[in-house]
Symmetry: D2
Subunit: 142 residues, 4 copies
Protein backbone atom coordinates (compact mmCIF):
# COMPACT_ATOMS: atom_id res chain seq x y z
CA UNK A 1 0.00 0.00 0.00
CA UNK A 2 1.36 3.31 -1.05
CA UNK A 3 1.54 6.35 1.20
CA UNK A 4 1.48 8.65 -1.80
CA UNK A 5 -1.73 10.01 -3.31
CA UNK A 6 -0.86 8.73 -6.78
CA UNK A 7 0.85 5.43 -7.43
CA UNK A 8 3.94 5.10 -9.58
CA UNK A 9 1.85 4.06 -12.58
CA UNK A 10 -0.65 6.87 -12.07
CA UNK A 11 2.08 9.47 -11.76
CA UNK A 12 3.88 8.24 -14.88
CA UNK A 13 0.61 8.23 -16.83
CA UNK A 14 -0.19 11.75 -15.72
CA UNK A 15 3.26 13.01 -16.68
CA UNK A 16 2.98 11.33 -20.08
CA UNK A 17 -0.33 13.00 -20.81
CA UNK A 18 0.76 16.42 -19.55
CA UNK A 19 4.28 16.52 -20.98
CA UNK A 20 4.28 14.28 -24.05
CA UNK A 21 7.15 16.28 -25.57
CA UNK A 22 9.54 15.08 -22.83
CA UNK A 23 9.49 11.66 -24.44
CA UNK A 24 9.62 12.94 -28.03
CA UNK A 25 12.34 11.10 -29.89
CA UNK A 26 11.84 7.95 -27.82
CA UNK A 27 10.92 7.26 -24.20
CA UNK A 28 13.93 8.21 -22.10
CA UNK A 29 12.64 9.44 -18.73
CA UNK A 30 11.63 6.51 -16.55
CA UNK A 31 9.96 7.18 -13.24
CA UNK A 32 11.18 4.27 -11.11
CA UNK A 33 9.71 4.99 -7.70
CA UNK A 34 7.53 7.42 -5.82
CA UNK A 35 7.22 7.57 -2.05
CA UNK A 36 6.30 9.90 0.74
CA UNK A 37 8.08 13.14 -0.21
CA UNK A 38 10.33 11.32 -2.64
CA UNK A 39 10.74 10.06 -6.19
CA UNK A 40 13.40 8.41 -8.30
CA UNK A 41 13.73 8.87 -12.05
CA UNK A 42 16.19 7.40 -14.53
CA UNK A 43 17.31 9.10 -17.71
CA UNK A 44 18.31 6.77 -20.51
CA UNK A 45 21.40 8.03 -22.25
CA UNK A 46 19.74 8.53 -25.63
CA UNK A 47 21.78 10.01 -28.41
CA UNK A 48 19.79 13.25 -28.20
CA UNK A 49 21.13 14.03 -24.71
CA UNK A 50 24.80 13.36 -25.35
CA UNK A 51 27.76 15.67 -25.53
CA UNK A 52 30.99 14.76 -27.29
CA UNK A 53 32.51 12.01 -25.14
CA UNK A 54 29.11 10.29 -24.82
CA UNK A 55 28.21 11.93 -21.53
CA UNK A 56 24.81 13.44 -20.86
CA UNK A 57 24.71 17.22 -21.31
CA UNK A 58 24.11 19.77 -18.58
CA UNK A 59 20.76 20.88 -20.01
CA UNK A 60 19.60 17.25 -20.07
CA UNK A 61 20.49 16.94 -16.38
CA UNK A 62 18.59 20.13 -15.62
CA UNK A 63 15.50 18.83 -17.41
CA UNK A 64 15.80 15.55 -15.49
CA UNK A 65 16.02 17.27 -12.11
CA UNK A 66 13.02 19.47 -12.81
CA UNK A 67 10.96 16.57 -14.12
CA UNK A 68 11.83 14.31 -11.18
CA UNK A 69 10.95 16.99 -8.63
CA UNK A 70 7.70 17.59 -10.45
CA UNK A 71 6.92 13.87 -10.29
CA UNK A 72 7.62 13.78 -6.54
CA UNK A 73 5.25 16.69 -5.95
CA UNK A 74 2.51 15.27 -8.15
CA UNK A 75 2.65 11.86 -6.52
CA UNK A 76 2.27 13.54 -3.15
CA UNK A 77 -0.43 16.10 -3.89
CA UNK A 78 -2.41 14.40 -6.64
CA UNK A 79 -3.22 15.24 -10.24
CA UNK A 80 -5.46 18.22 -9.66
CA UNK A 81 -2.70 20.64 -8.87
CA UNK A 82 -0.62 22.25 -11.58
CA UNK A 83 2.58 23.18 -9.85
CA UNK A 84 4.79 25.77 -11.55
CA UNK A 85 8.56 25.83 -11.21
CA UNK A 86 9.63 29.13 -9.69
CA UNK A 87 13.29 28.55 -8.81
CA UNK A 88 15.93 26.00 -9.69
CA UNK A 89 19.55 25.98 -8.54
CA UNK A 90 22.11 23.56 -9.89
CA UNK A 91 25.60 22.69 -8.77
CA UNK A 92 27.49 20.70 -11.37
CA UNK A 93 30.04 18.66 -9.46
CA UNK A 94 31.70 16.29 -11.88
CA UNK A 95 31.44 15.08 -15.43
CA UNK A 96 29.03 12.13 -15.51
CA UNK A 97 30.22 8.75 -16.65
CA UNK A 98 28.85 7.57 -19.97
CA UNK A 99 25.53 5.81 -19.61
CA UNK A 100 22.22 6.38 -17.83
CA UNK A 101 21.69 8.88 -15.02
CA UNK A 102 19.61 8.47 -11.89
CA UNK A 103 17.86 11.31 -10.07
CA UNK A 104 16.92 10.76 -6.44
CA UNK A 105 14.73 13.47 -5.08
CA UNK A 106 13.40 14.38 -1.71
CA UNK A 107 10.89 17.08 -0.87
CA UNK A 108 12.11 19.28 1.97
CA UNK A 109 8.80 21.04 2.26
CA UNK A 110 5.35 20.40 0.88
CA UNK A 111 3.29 23.35 1.97
CA UNK A 112 -0.06 24.60 0.76
CA UNK A 113 1.50 27.17 -1.53
CA UNK A 114 5.12 26.16 -2.02
CA UNK A 115 6.98 22.89 -2.37
CA UNK A 116 10.77 22.73 -2.11
CA UNK A 117 12.91 19.75 -2.91
CA UNK A 118 16.42 18.61 -3.63
CA UNK A 119 17.77 16.20 -6.21
CA UNK A 120 20.99 14.25 -6.39
CA UNK A 121 21.91 12.97 -9.84
CA UNK A 122 24.40 10.13 -10.17
CA UNK A 123 25.67 8.02 -13.04
CA UNK A 124 24.05 4.60 -12.73
CA UNK A 125 26.53 2.30 -11.05
CA UNK A 126 28.53 5.13 -9.51
CA UNK A 127 28.23 6.72 -6.10
CA UNK A 128 29.47 10.25 -6.64
CA UNK A 129 26.87 12.94 -7.17
CA UNK A 130 27.42 14.57 -10.54
CA UNK A 131 24.77 17.27 -10.18
CA UNK A 132 22.89 18.55 -7.15
CA UNK A 133 19.77 20.65 -7.55
CA UNK A 134 17.22 22.39 -5.40
CA UNK A 135 13.88 23.56 -6.72
CA UNK A 136 10.85 25.54 -5.61
CA UNK A 137 7.39 25.04 -7.04
CA UNK A 138 4.36 27.24 -6.61
CA UNK A 139 1.18 25.26 -5.95
CA UNK A 140 -2.03 26.92 -7.06
CA UNK A 141 -4.96 27.25 -4.65
CA UNK A 142 -6.91 24.01 -4.41
CA UNK B 1 36.42 46.84 -34.61
CA UNK B 2 35.37 44.48 -31.94
CA UNK B 3 36.47 44.76 -28.33
CA UNK B 4 35.95 41.04 -27.86
CA UNK B 5 38.64 38.46 -28.54
CA UNK B 6 36.41 36.50 -30.91
CA UNK B 7 33.97 38.12 -33.33
CA UNK B 8 30.33 37.13 -33.52
CA UNK B 9 31.01 34.86 -36.50
CA UNK B 10 34.03 33.26 -34.82
CA UNK B 11 32.12 32.61 -31.63
CA UNK B 12 29.16 31.09 -33.46
CA UNK B 13 31.48 28.89 -35.52
CA UNK B 14 33.29 27.71 -32.40
CA UNK B 15 30.01 26.89 -30.64
CA UNK B 16 28.79 24.99 -33.69
CA UNK B 17 31.90 22.87 -33.81
CA UNK B 18 31.98 22.20 -30.06
CA UNK B 19 28.28 21.63 -29.45
CA UNK B 20 26.78 20.39 -32.72
CA UNK B 21 24.01 18.60 -30.83
CA UNK B 22 22.53 21.93 -29.68
CA UNK B 23 21.36 22.50 -33.24
CA UNK B 24 20.27 18.92 -33.84
CA UNK B 25 16.75 18.92 -35.24
CA UNK B 26 17.35 22.23 -37.00
CA UNK B 27 19.29 25.38 -36.20
CA UNK B 28 17.42 27.15 -33.41
CA UNK B 29 20.01 28.97 -31.29
CA UNK B 30 21.13 32.15 -33.00
CA UNK B 31 23.92 34.18 -31.49
CA UNK B 32 22.99 37.75 -32.44
CA UNK B 33 25.65 39.83 -30.75
CA UNK B 34 28.77 39.61 -28.65
CA UNK B 35 30.38 42.53 -26.87
CA UNK B 36 32.66 43.36 -23.98
CA UNK B 37 31.29 41.16 -21.17
CA UNK B 38 28.04 40.60 -23.03
CA UNK B 39 26.19 38.48 -25.56
CA UNK B 40 22.71 38.18 -27.00
CA UNK B 41 21.20 34.94 -28.26
CA UNK B 42 17.80 34.19 -29.77
CA UNK B 43 16.00 30.87 -29.48
CA UNK B 44 13.68 30.07 -32.33
CA UNK B 45 10.47 28.53 -31.05
CA UNK B 46 10.94 25.21 -32.78
CA UNK B 47 8.40 22.50 -32.18
CA UNK B 48 10.93 20.54 -30.14
CA UNK B 49 11.05 23.18 -27.40
CA UNK B 50 7.32 23.74 -26.98
CA UNK B 51 4.99 22.89 -24.14
CA UNK B 52 1.24 22.59 -24.60
CA UNK B 53 0.05 26.12 -25.31
CA UNK B 54 2.95 26.68 -27.73
CA UNK B 55 5.22 28.30 -25.18
CA UNK B 56 8.86 27.35 -24.82
CA UNK B 57 9.51 24.91 -21.98
CA UNK B 58 11.50 25.62 -18.84
CA UNK B 59 14.29 23.19 -19.77
CA UNK B 60 14.65 24.92 -23.15
CA UNK B 61 15.03 28.26 -21.37
CA UNK B 62 17.65 26.76 -19.08
CA UNK B 63 19.62 25.45 -22.04
CA UNK B 64 19.38 28.85 -23.72
CA UNK B 65 20.67 30.71 -20.65
CA UNK B 66 23.61 28.34 -20.24
CA UNK B 67 24.49 28.49 -23.90
CA UNK B 68 24.27 32.29 -24.07
CA UNK B 69 26.48 32.73 -21.01
CA UNK B 70 28.95 30.29 -22.48
CA UNK B 71 29.01 32.32 -25.68
CA UNK B 72 29.65 35.55 -23.79
CA UNK B 73 32.59 33.98 -21.95
CA UNK B 74 34.07 32.44 -25.10
CA UNK B 75 33.85 35.68 -27.05
CA UNK B 76 35.68 37.42 -24.24
CA UNK B 77 38.40 34.90 -23.43
CA UNK B 78 38.92 33.22 -26.78
CA UNK B 79 38.62 29.67 -28.05
CA UNK B 80 41.45 28.08 -26.13
CA UNK B 81 39.66 27.89 -22.85
CA UNK B 82 37.13 25.21 -22.08
CA UNK B 83 34.96 26.70 -19.41
CA UNK B 84 32.83 24.34 -17.37
CA UNK B 85 29.49 25.31 -15.84
CA UNK B 86 29.66 24.94 -12.07
CA UNK B 87 26.50 26.66 -10.87
CA UNK B 88 23.27 27.86 -12.44
CA UNK B 89 20.34 29.50 -10.67
CA UNK B 90 17.05 30.22 -12.39
CA UNK B 91 14.07 32.29 -11.37
CA UNK B 92 11.05 31.62 -13.56
CA UNK B 93 8.99 34.78 -13.43
CA UNK B 94 6.16 34.43 -15.93
CA UNK B 95 4.96 32.14 -18.65
CA UNK B 96 6.58 33.24 -21.90
CA UNK B 97 4.43 34.40 -24.79
CA UNK B 98 4.35 32.07 -27.78
CA UNK B 99 7.18 32.71 -30.19
CA UNK B 100 10.93 33.21 -30.04
CA UNK B 101 12.85 34.03 -26.89
CA UNK B 102 15.78 36.41 -26.47
CA UNK B 103 18.54 35.99 -23.91
CA UNK B 104 20.56 39.08 -22.99
CA UNK B 105 23.57 38.27 -20.90
CA UNK B 106 26.13 40.27 -19.04
CA UNK B 107 29.24 38.99 -17.32
CA UNK B 108 29.52 40.31 -13.77
CA UNK B 109 33.00 38.94 -13.35
CA UNK B 110 35.57 37.52 -15.71
CA UNK B 111 38.42 36.37 -13.52
CA UNK B 112 41.31 34.07 -14.23
CA UNK B 113 39.57 31.11 -12.66
CA UNK B 114 35.89 31.94 -12.47
CA UNK B 115 33.42 33.81 -14.64
CA UNK B 116 30.00 34.83 -13.34
CA UNK B 117 27.18 36.24 -15.40
CA UNK B 118 23.50 36.94 -15.46
CA UNK B 119 20.90 36.42 -18.15
CA UNK B 120 17.51 37.98 -18.72
CA UNK B 121 15.22 36.04 -21.05
CA UNK B 122 12.28 37.82 -22.65
CA UNK B 123 9.73 36.88 -25.27
CA UNK B 124 10.65 38.68 -28.47
CA UNK B 125 8.52 41.81 -28.71
CA UNK B 126 7.76 41.88 -24.98
CA UNK B 127 9.54 43.71 -22.18
CA UNK B 128 8.86 41.58 -19.15
CA UNK B 129 11.59 39.19 -18.11
CA UNK B 130 10.23 35.64 -18.16
CA UNK B 131 13.30 33.95 -16.72
CA UNK B 132 16.33 35.36 -14.93
CA UNK B 133 19.45 33.28 -14.47
CA UNK B 134 22.87 33.58 -12.93
CA UNK B 135 25.71 31.22 -13.75
CA UNK B 136 29.25 30.46 -12.67
CA UNK B 137 31.85 28.91 -14.94
CA UNK B 138 35.20 27.48 -14.01
CA UNK B 139 37.98 28.49 -16.38
CA UNK B 140 40.88 26.06 -16.64
CA UNK B 141 44.46 27.26 -16.23
CA UNK B 142 45.71 28.87 -19.43
CA UNK C 1 4.32 62.59 -6.04
CA UNK C 2 5.61 59.14 -5.39
CA UNK C 3 4.74 56.14 -7.51
CA UNK C 4 5.33 53.81 -4.60
CA UNK C 5 2.66 53.00 -2.03
CA UNK C 6 4.89 53.98 0.89
CA UNK C 7 7.30 56.90 0.77
CA UNK C 8 10.96 56.57 1.70
CA UNK C 9 10.28 57.88 5.22
CA UNK C 10 7.28 55.60 5.70
CA UNK C 11 9.20 52.55 4.55
CA UNK C 12 12.17 53.32 6.80
CA UNK C 13 9.85 53.88 9.76
CA UNK C 14 8.06 50.59 9.12
CA UNK C 15 11.35 48.69 8.85
CA UNK C 16 12.58 50.29 12.09
CA UNK C 17 9.47 49.24 13.98
CA UNK C 18 9.41 45.70 12.55
CA UNK C 19 13.13 44.91 12.68
CA UNK C 20 14.62 47.02 15.48
CA UNK C 21 17.40 44.49 15.98
CA UNK C 22 18.86 45.30 12.53
CA UNK C 23 20.02 48.63 13.94
CA UNK C 24 21.14 47.24 17.32
CA UNK C 25 24.63 48.47 18.05
CA UNK C 26 24.02 51.73 16.16
CA UNK C 27 22.06 52.68 13.07
CA UNK C 28 23.92 51.26 10.09
CA UNK C 29 21.34 50.40 7.41
CA UNK C 30 20.19 53.54 5.64
CA UNK C 31 17.39 53.30 3.12
CA UNK C 32 18.31 55.99 0.61
CA UNK C 33 15.63 55.67 -2.06
CA UNK C 34 12.51 53.76 -2.99
CA UNK C 35 10.89 53.80 -6.41
CA UNK C 36 8.63 51.77 -8.64
CA UNK C 37 10.00 48.23 -8.25
CA UNK C 38 13.26 49.52 -6.80
CA UNK C 39 15.12 50.55 -3.66
CA UNK C 40 18.61 51.62 -2.67
CA UNK C 41 20.12 50.97 0.76
CA UNK C 42 23.52 51.89 2.18
CA UNK C 43 25.33 49.90 4.84
CA UNK C 44 27.66 51.91 7.03
CA UNK C 45 30.88 50.03 7.63
CA UNK C 46 30.42 49.72 11.38
CA UNK C 47 32.98 47.82 13.35
CA UNK C 48 30.49 45.02 13.93
CA UNK C 49 30.36 44.10 10.24
CA UNK C 50 34.08 44.06 9.54
CA UNK C 51 36.43 41.22 8.77
CA UNK C 52 40.18 41.46 9.26
CA UNK C 53 41.34 43.95 6.62
CA UNK C 54 38.43 46.29 7.43
CA UNK C 55 36.16 44.97 4.71
CA UNK C 56 32.52 44.13 5.33
CA UNK C 57 31.89 40.43 5.90
CA UNK C 58 29.91 38.11 3.64
CA UNK C 59 27.13 37.60 6.19
CA UNK C 60 26.74 41.38 6.52
CA UNK C 61 26.36 41.66 2.75
CA UNK C 62 23.75 38.90 2.80
CA UNK C 63 21.77 40.70 5.50
CA UNK C 64 21.98 43.92 3.50
CA UNK C 65 20.69 42.30 0.30
CA UNK C 66 17.77 40.67 2.09
CA UNK C 67 16.87 43.86 3.93
CA UNK C 68 17.07 46.02 0.79
CA UNK C 69 14.87 43.64 -1.19
CA UNK C 70 12.40 43.57 1.65
CA UNK C 71 12.32 47.38 1.64
CA UNK C 72 11.67 47.47 -2.11
CA UNK C 73 8.75 45.08 -1.74
CA UNK C 74 7.26 46.91 1.23
CA UNK C 75 7.47 50.28 -0.48
CA UNK C 76 5.63 48.82 -3.44
CA UNK C 77 2.92 46.79 -1.73
CA UNK C 78 2.41 48.74 1.48
CA UNK C 79 2.74 47.92 5.16
CA UNK C 80 -0.08 45.43 5.48
CA UNK C 81 1.74 42.56 3.88
CA UNK C 82 4.26 40.47 5.74
CA UNK C 83 6.44 39.03 3.06
CA UNK C 84 8.59 36.04 3.98
CA UNK C 85 11.93 35.30 2.35
CA UNK C 86 11.77 31.90 0.65
CA UNK C 87 14.93 31.83 -1.46
CA UNK C 88 18.15 33.82 -1.64
CA UNK C 89 21.07 33.21 -3.97
CA UNK C 90 24.35 35.05 -3.68
CA UNK C 91 27.33 35.31 -5.98
CA UNK C 92 30.34 36.82 -4.27
CA UNK C 93 32.39 38.40 -7.01
CA UNK C 94 35.21 40.37 -5.41
CA UNK C 95 36.42 41.46 -2.02
CA UNK C 96 34.77 44.79 -1.20
CA UNK C 97 36.92 47.88 -0.66
CA UNK C 98 37.00 49.17 2.88
CA UNK C 99 34.15 51.54 3.65
CA UNK C 100 30.39 51.64 3.14
CA UNK C 101 28.48 49.40 0.78
CA UNK C 102 25.54 50.27 -1.44
CA UNK C 103 22.78 47.88 -2.45
CA UNK C 104 20.76 48.72 -5.54
CA UNK C 105 17.76 46.50 -5.97
CA UNK C 106 15.20 45.98 -8.64
CA UNK C 107 12.10 43.83 -8.46
CA UNK C 108 11.82 41.52 -11.46
CA UNK C 109 8.35 40.41 -10.52
CA UNK C 110 5.79 41.64 -8.04
CA UNK C 111 2.95 39.16 -8.24
CA UNK C 112 0.07 38.52 -5.90
CA UNK C 113 1.83 35.62 -4.21
CA UNK C 114 5.51 35.94 -5.04
CA UNK C 115 7.95 38.77 -5.47
CA UNK C 116 11.37 38.24 -7.04
CA UNK C 117 14.18 40.74 -7.14
CA UNK C 118 17.87 41.20 -7.73
CA UNK C 119 20.44 43.22 -5.86
CA UNK C 120 23.84 44.54 -6.90
CA UNK C 121 26.12 45.49 -4.02
CA UNK C 122 29.04 47.81 -4.68
CA UNK C 123 31.60 49.55 -2.50
CA UNK C 124 30.64 53.22 -2.33
CA UNK C 125 32.76 55.09 -4.85
CA UNK C 126 33.55 51.99 -6.91
CA UNK C 127 31.77 50.57 -9.93
CA UNK C 128 32.45 46.87 -9.74
CA UNK C 129 29.74 44.70 -8.27
CA UNK C 130 31.13 42.88 -5.22
CA UNK C 131 28.07 40.75 -4.55
CA UNK C 132 25.04 39.94 -6.68
CA UNK C 133 21.93 38.44 -5.15
CA UNK C 134 18.51 37.27 -6.23
CA UNK C 135 15.69 36.70 -3.78
CA UNK C 136 12.15 35.35 -3.70
CA UNK C 137 9.54 36.44 -1.17
CA UNK C 138 6.21 34.86 -0.46
CA UNK C 139 3.41 37.39 -0.04
CA UNK C 140 0.52 36.30 2.15
CA UNK C 141 -3.06 36.60 0.91
CA UNK C 142 -4.31 40.16 1.24
CA UNK D 1 41.43 8.68 15.48
CA UNK D 2 40.13 11.29 13.12
CA UNK D 3 39.99 10.93 9.36
CA UNK D 4 40.07 14.69 8.94
CA UNK D 5 43.26 16.71 8.55
CA UNK D 6 42.42 18.96 11.48
CA UNK D 7 40.71 17.74 14.64
CA UNK D 8 37.61 19.39 16.06
CA UNK D 9 39.70 21.38 18.53
CA UNK D 10 42.19 22.45 15.87
CA UNK D 11 39.44 23.57 13.51
CA UNK D 12 37.65 25.54 16.21
CA UNK D 13 40.92 27.19 17.26
CA UNK D 14 41.71 28.14 13.67
CA UNK D 15 38.23 29.60 13.14
CA UNK D 16 38.53 31.58 16.36
CA UNK D 17 41.83 33.09 15.32
CA UNK D 18 40.72 33.87 11.75
CA UNK D 19 37.21 35.12 12.45
CA UNK D 20 37.20 36.53 15.98
CA UNK D 21 34.33 38.86 15.14
CA UNK D 22 31.96 35.88 14.69
CA UNK D 23 32.00 35.42 18.44
CA UNK D 24 31.88 39.13 19.27
CA UNK D 25 29.13 39.73 21.81
CA UNK D 26 29.67 36.31 23.37
CA UNK D 27 30.59 32.88 22.04
CA UNK D 28 27.58 31.60 20.13
CA UNK D 29 28.87 29.40 17.29
CA UNK D 30 29.91 26.00 18.62
CA UNK D 31 31.57 23.57 16.27
CA UNK D 32 30.38 20.21 17.61
CA UNK D 33 31.86 17.71 15.18
CA UNK D 34 34.02 17.41 12.12
CA UNK D 35 34.35 14.30 9.99
CA UNK D 36 35.26 13.18 6.50
CA UNK D 37 33.46 15.69 4.28
CA UNK D 38 31.22 16.78 7.14
CA UNK D 39 30.79 19.12 10.09
CA UNK D 40 28.14 20.00 12.63
CA UNK D 41 27.79 23.43 14.23
CA UNK D 42 25.35 24.74 16.81
CA UNK D 43 24.21 28.33 17.05
CA UNK D 44 23.21 29.45 20.51
CA UNK D 45 20.11 31.61 20.38
CA UNK D 46 21.78 34.73 21.72
CA UNK D 47 19.72 37.88 21.98
CA UNK D 48 21.69 39.41 19.11
CA UNK D 49 20.36 36.87 16.60
CA UNK D 50 16.68 37.04 17.51
CA UNK D 51 13.72 38.42 15.63
CA UNK D 52 10.48 39.41 17.36
CA UNK D 53 8.98 36.12 18.56
CA UNK D 54 12.38 34.96 19.84
CA UNK D 55 13.28 33.03 16.71
CA UNK D 56 16.67 33.28 15.07
CA UNK D 57 16.75 35.66 12.09
CA UNK D 58 17.33 34.71 8.49
CA UNK D 59 20.68 36.53 8.29
CA UNK D 60 21.86 34.65 11.39
CA UNK D 61 20.98 31.36 9.70
CA UNK D 62 22.87 32.42 6.59
CA UNK D 63 25.96 33.25 8.64
CA UNK D 64 25.68 29.90 10.40
CA UNK D 65 25.45 27.94 7.15
CA UNK D 66 28.45 29.73 5.65
CA UNK D 67 30.51 29.29 8.80
CA UNK D 68 29.67 25.60 9.15
CA UNK D 69 30.55 24.87 5.52
CA UNK D 70 33.79 26.75 5.95
CA UNK D 71 34.58 24.63 9.01
CA UNK D 72 33.89 21.41 7.11
CA UNK D 73 36.25 22.46 4.32
CA UNK D 74 39.00 23.60 6.70
CA UNK D 75 38.87 20.39 8.71
CA UNK D 76 39.25 18.42 5.50
CA UNK D 77 41.94 20.43 3.71
CA UNK D 78 43.92 21.86 6.62
CA UNK D 79 44.72 25.37 7.80
CA UNK D 80 46.97 26.44 4.95
CA UNK D 81 44.21 27.09 2.49
CA UNK D 82 42.09 30.21 2.60
CA UNK D 83 38.90 29.24 0.89
CA UNK D 84 36.68 32.03 -0.38
CA UNK D 85 32.89 31.77 -0.62
CA UNK D 86 31.80 32.22 -4.22
CA UNK D 87 28.15 31.16 -4.18
CA UNK D 88 25.51 30.54 -1.54
CA UNK D 89 21.90 29.54 -2.13
CA UNK D 90 19.34 29.38 0.65
CA UNK D 91 15.86 27.94 0.79
CA UNK D 92 13.97 29.08 3.87
CA UNK D 93 11.44 26.37 4.58
CA UNK D 94 9.78 27.13 7.90
CA UNK D 95 10.05 29.53 10.79
CA UNK D 96 12.48 28.05 13.31
CA UNK D 97 11.29 27.20 16.81
CA UNK D 98 12.68 29.40 19.56
CA UNK D 99 16.02 28.17 20.86
CA UNK D 100 19.31 26.97 19.42
CA UNK D 101 19.83 25.91 15.82
CA UNK D 102 21.92 23.06 14.50
CA UNK D 103 23.66 23.04 11.11
CA UNK D 104 24.61 19.67 9.65
CA UNK D 105 26.80 19.96 6.63
CA UNK D 106 28.13 17.61 4.06
CA UNK D 107 30.63 18.33 1.31
CA UNK D 108 29.40 17.11 -2.07
CA UNK D 109 32.71 17.82 -3.72
CA UNK D 110 36.15 18.66 -2.44
CA UNK D 111 38.22 19.32 -5.52
CA UNK D 112 41.54 21.02 -5.96
CA UNK D 113 39.96 24.31 -6.90
CA UNK D 114 36.35 24.18 -5.78
CA UNK D 115 34.50 22.74 -2.82
CA UNK D 116 30.71 22.41 -2.82
CA UNK D 117 28.58 21.48 0.15
CA UNK D 118 25.08 21.47 1.51
CA UNK D 119 23.73 22.38 4.92
CA UNK D 120 20.51 21.46 6.68
CA UNK D 121 19.59 23.71 9.59
CA UNK D 122 17.12 22.45 12.18
CA UNK D 123 15.86 23.77 15.50
CA UNK D 124 17.50 21.70 18.22
CA UNK D 125 15.04 19.04 19.29
CA UNK D 126 13.01 19.22 16.08
CA UNK D 127 13.33 17.19 12.90
CA UNK D 128 12.05 19.51 10.22
CA UNK D 129 14.64 21.38 8.21
CA UNK D 130 14.07 25.12 8.62
CA UNK D 131 16.71 26.26 6.14
CA UNK D 132 18.61 24.40 3.44
CA UNK D 133 21.70 25.86 1.87
CA UNK D 134 24.25 24.97 -0.77
CA UNK D 135 27.58 26.73 -1.05
CA UNK D 136 30.60 26.86 -3.34
CA UNK D 137 34.07 27.82 -2.17
CA UNK D 138 37.11 28.63 -4.26
CA UNK D 139 40.29 27.04 -2.95
CA UNK D 140 43.49 28.87 -3.79
CA UNK D 141 46.41 27.03 -5.37
CA UNK D 142 48.38 25.10 -2.75
Amino acid sequence: MSATIMSLAQTQAFLDSEFPQMQAGGRAYHLEAVGPLSARMRLEAHERFLRPGATVSGPAMMALADYALYAAILANIGPVALAVTTNLTFNFLRKPASGDLMAECRLLKLGRRLAVGEVAITSVGHEDIVCHATGTYSIPPR
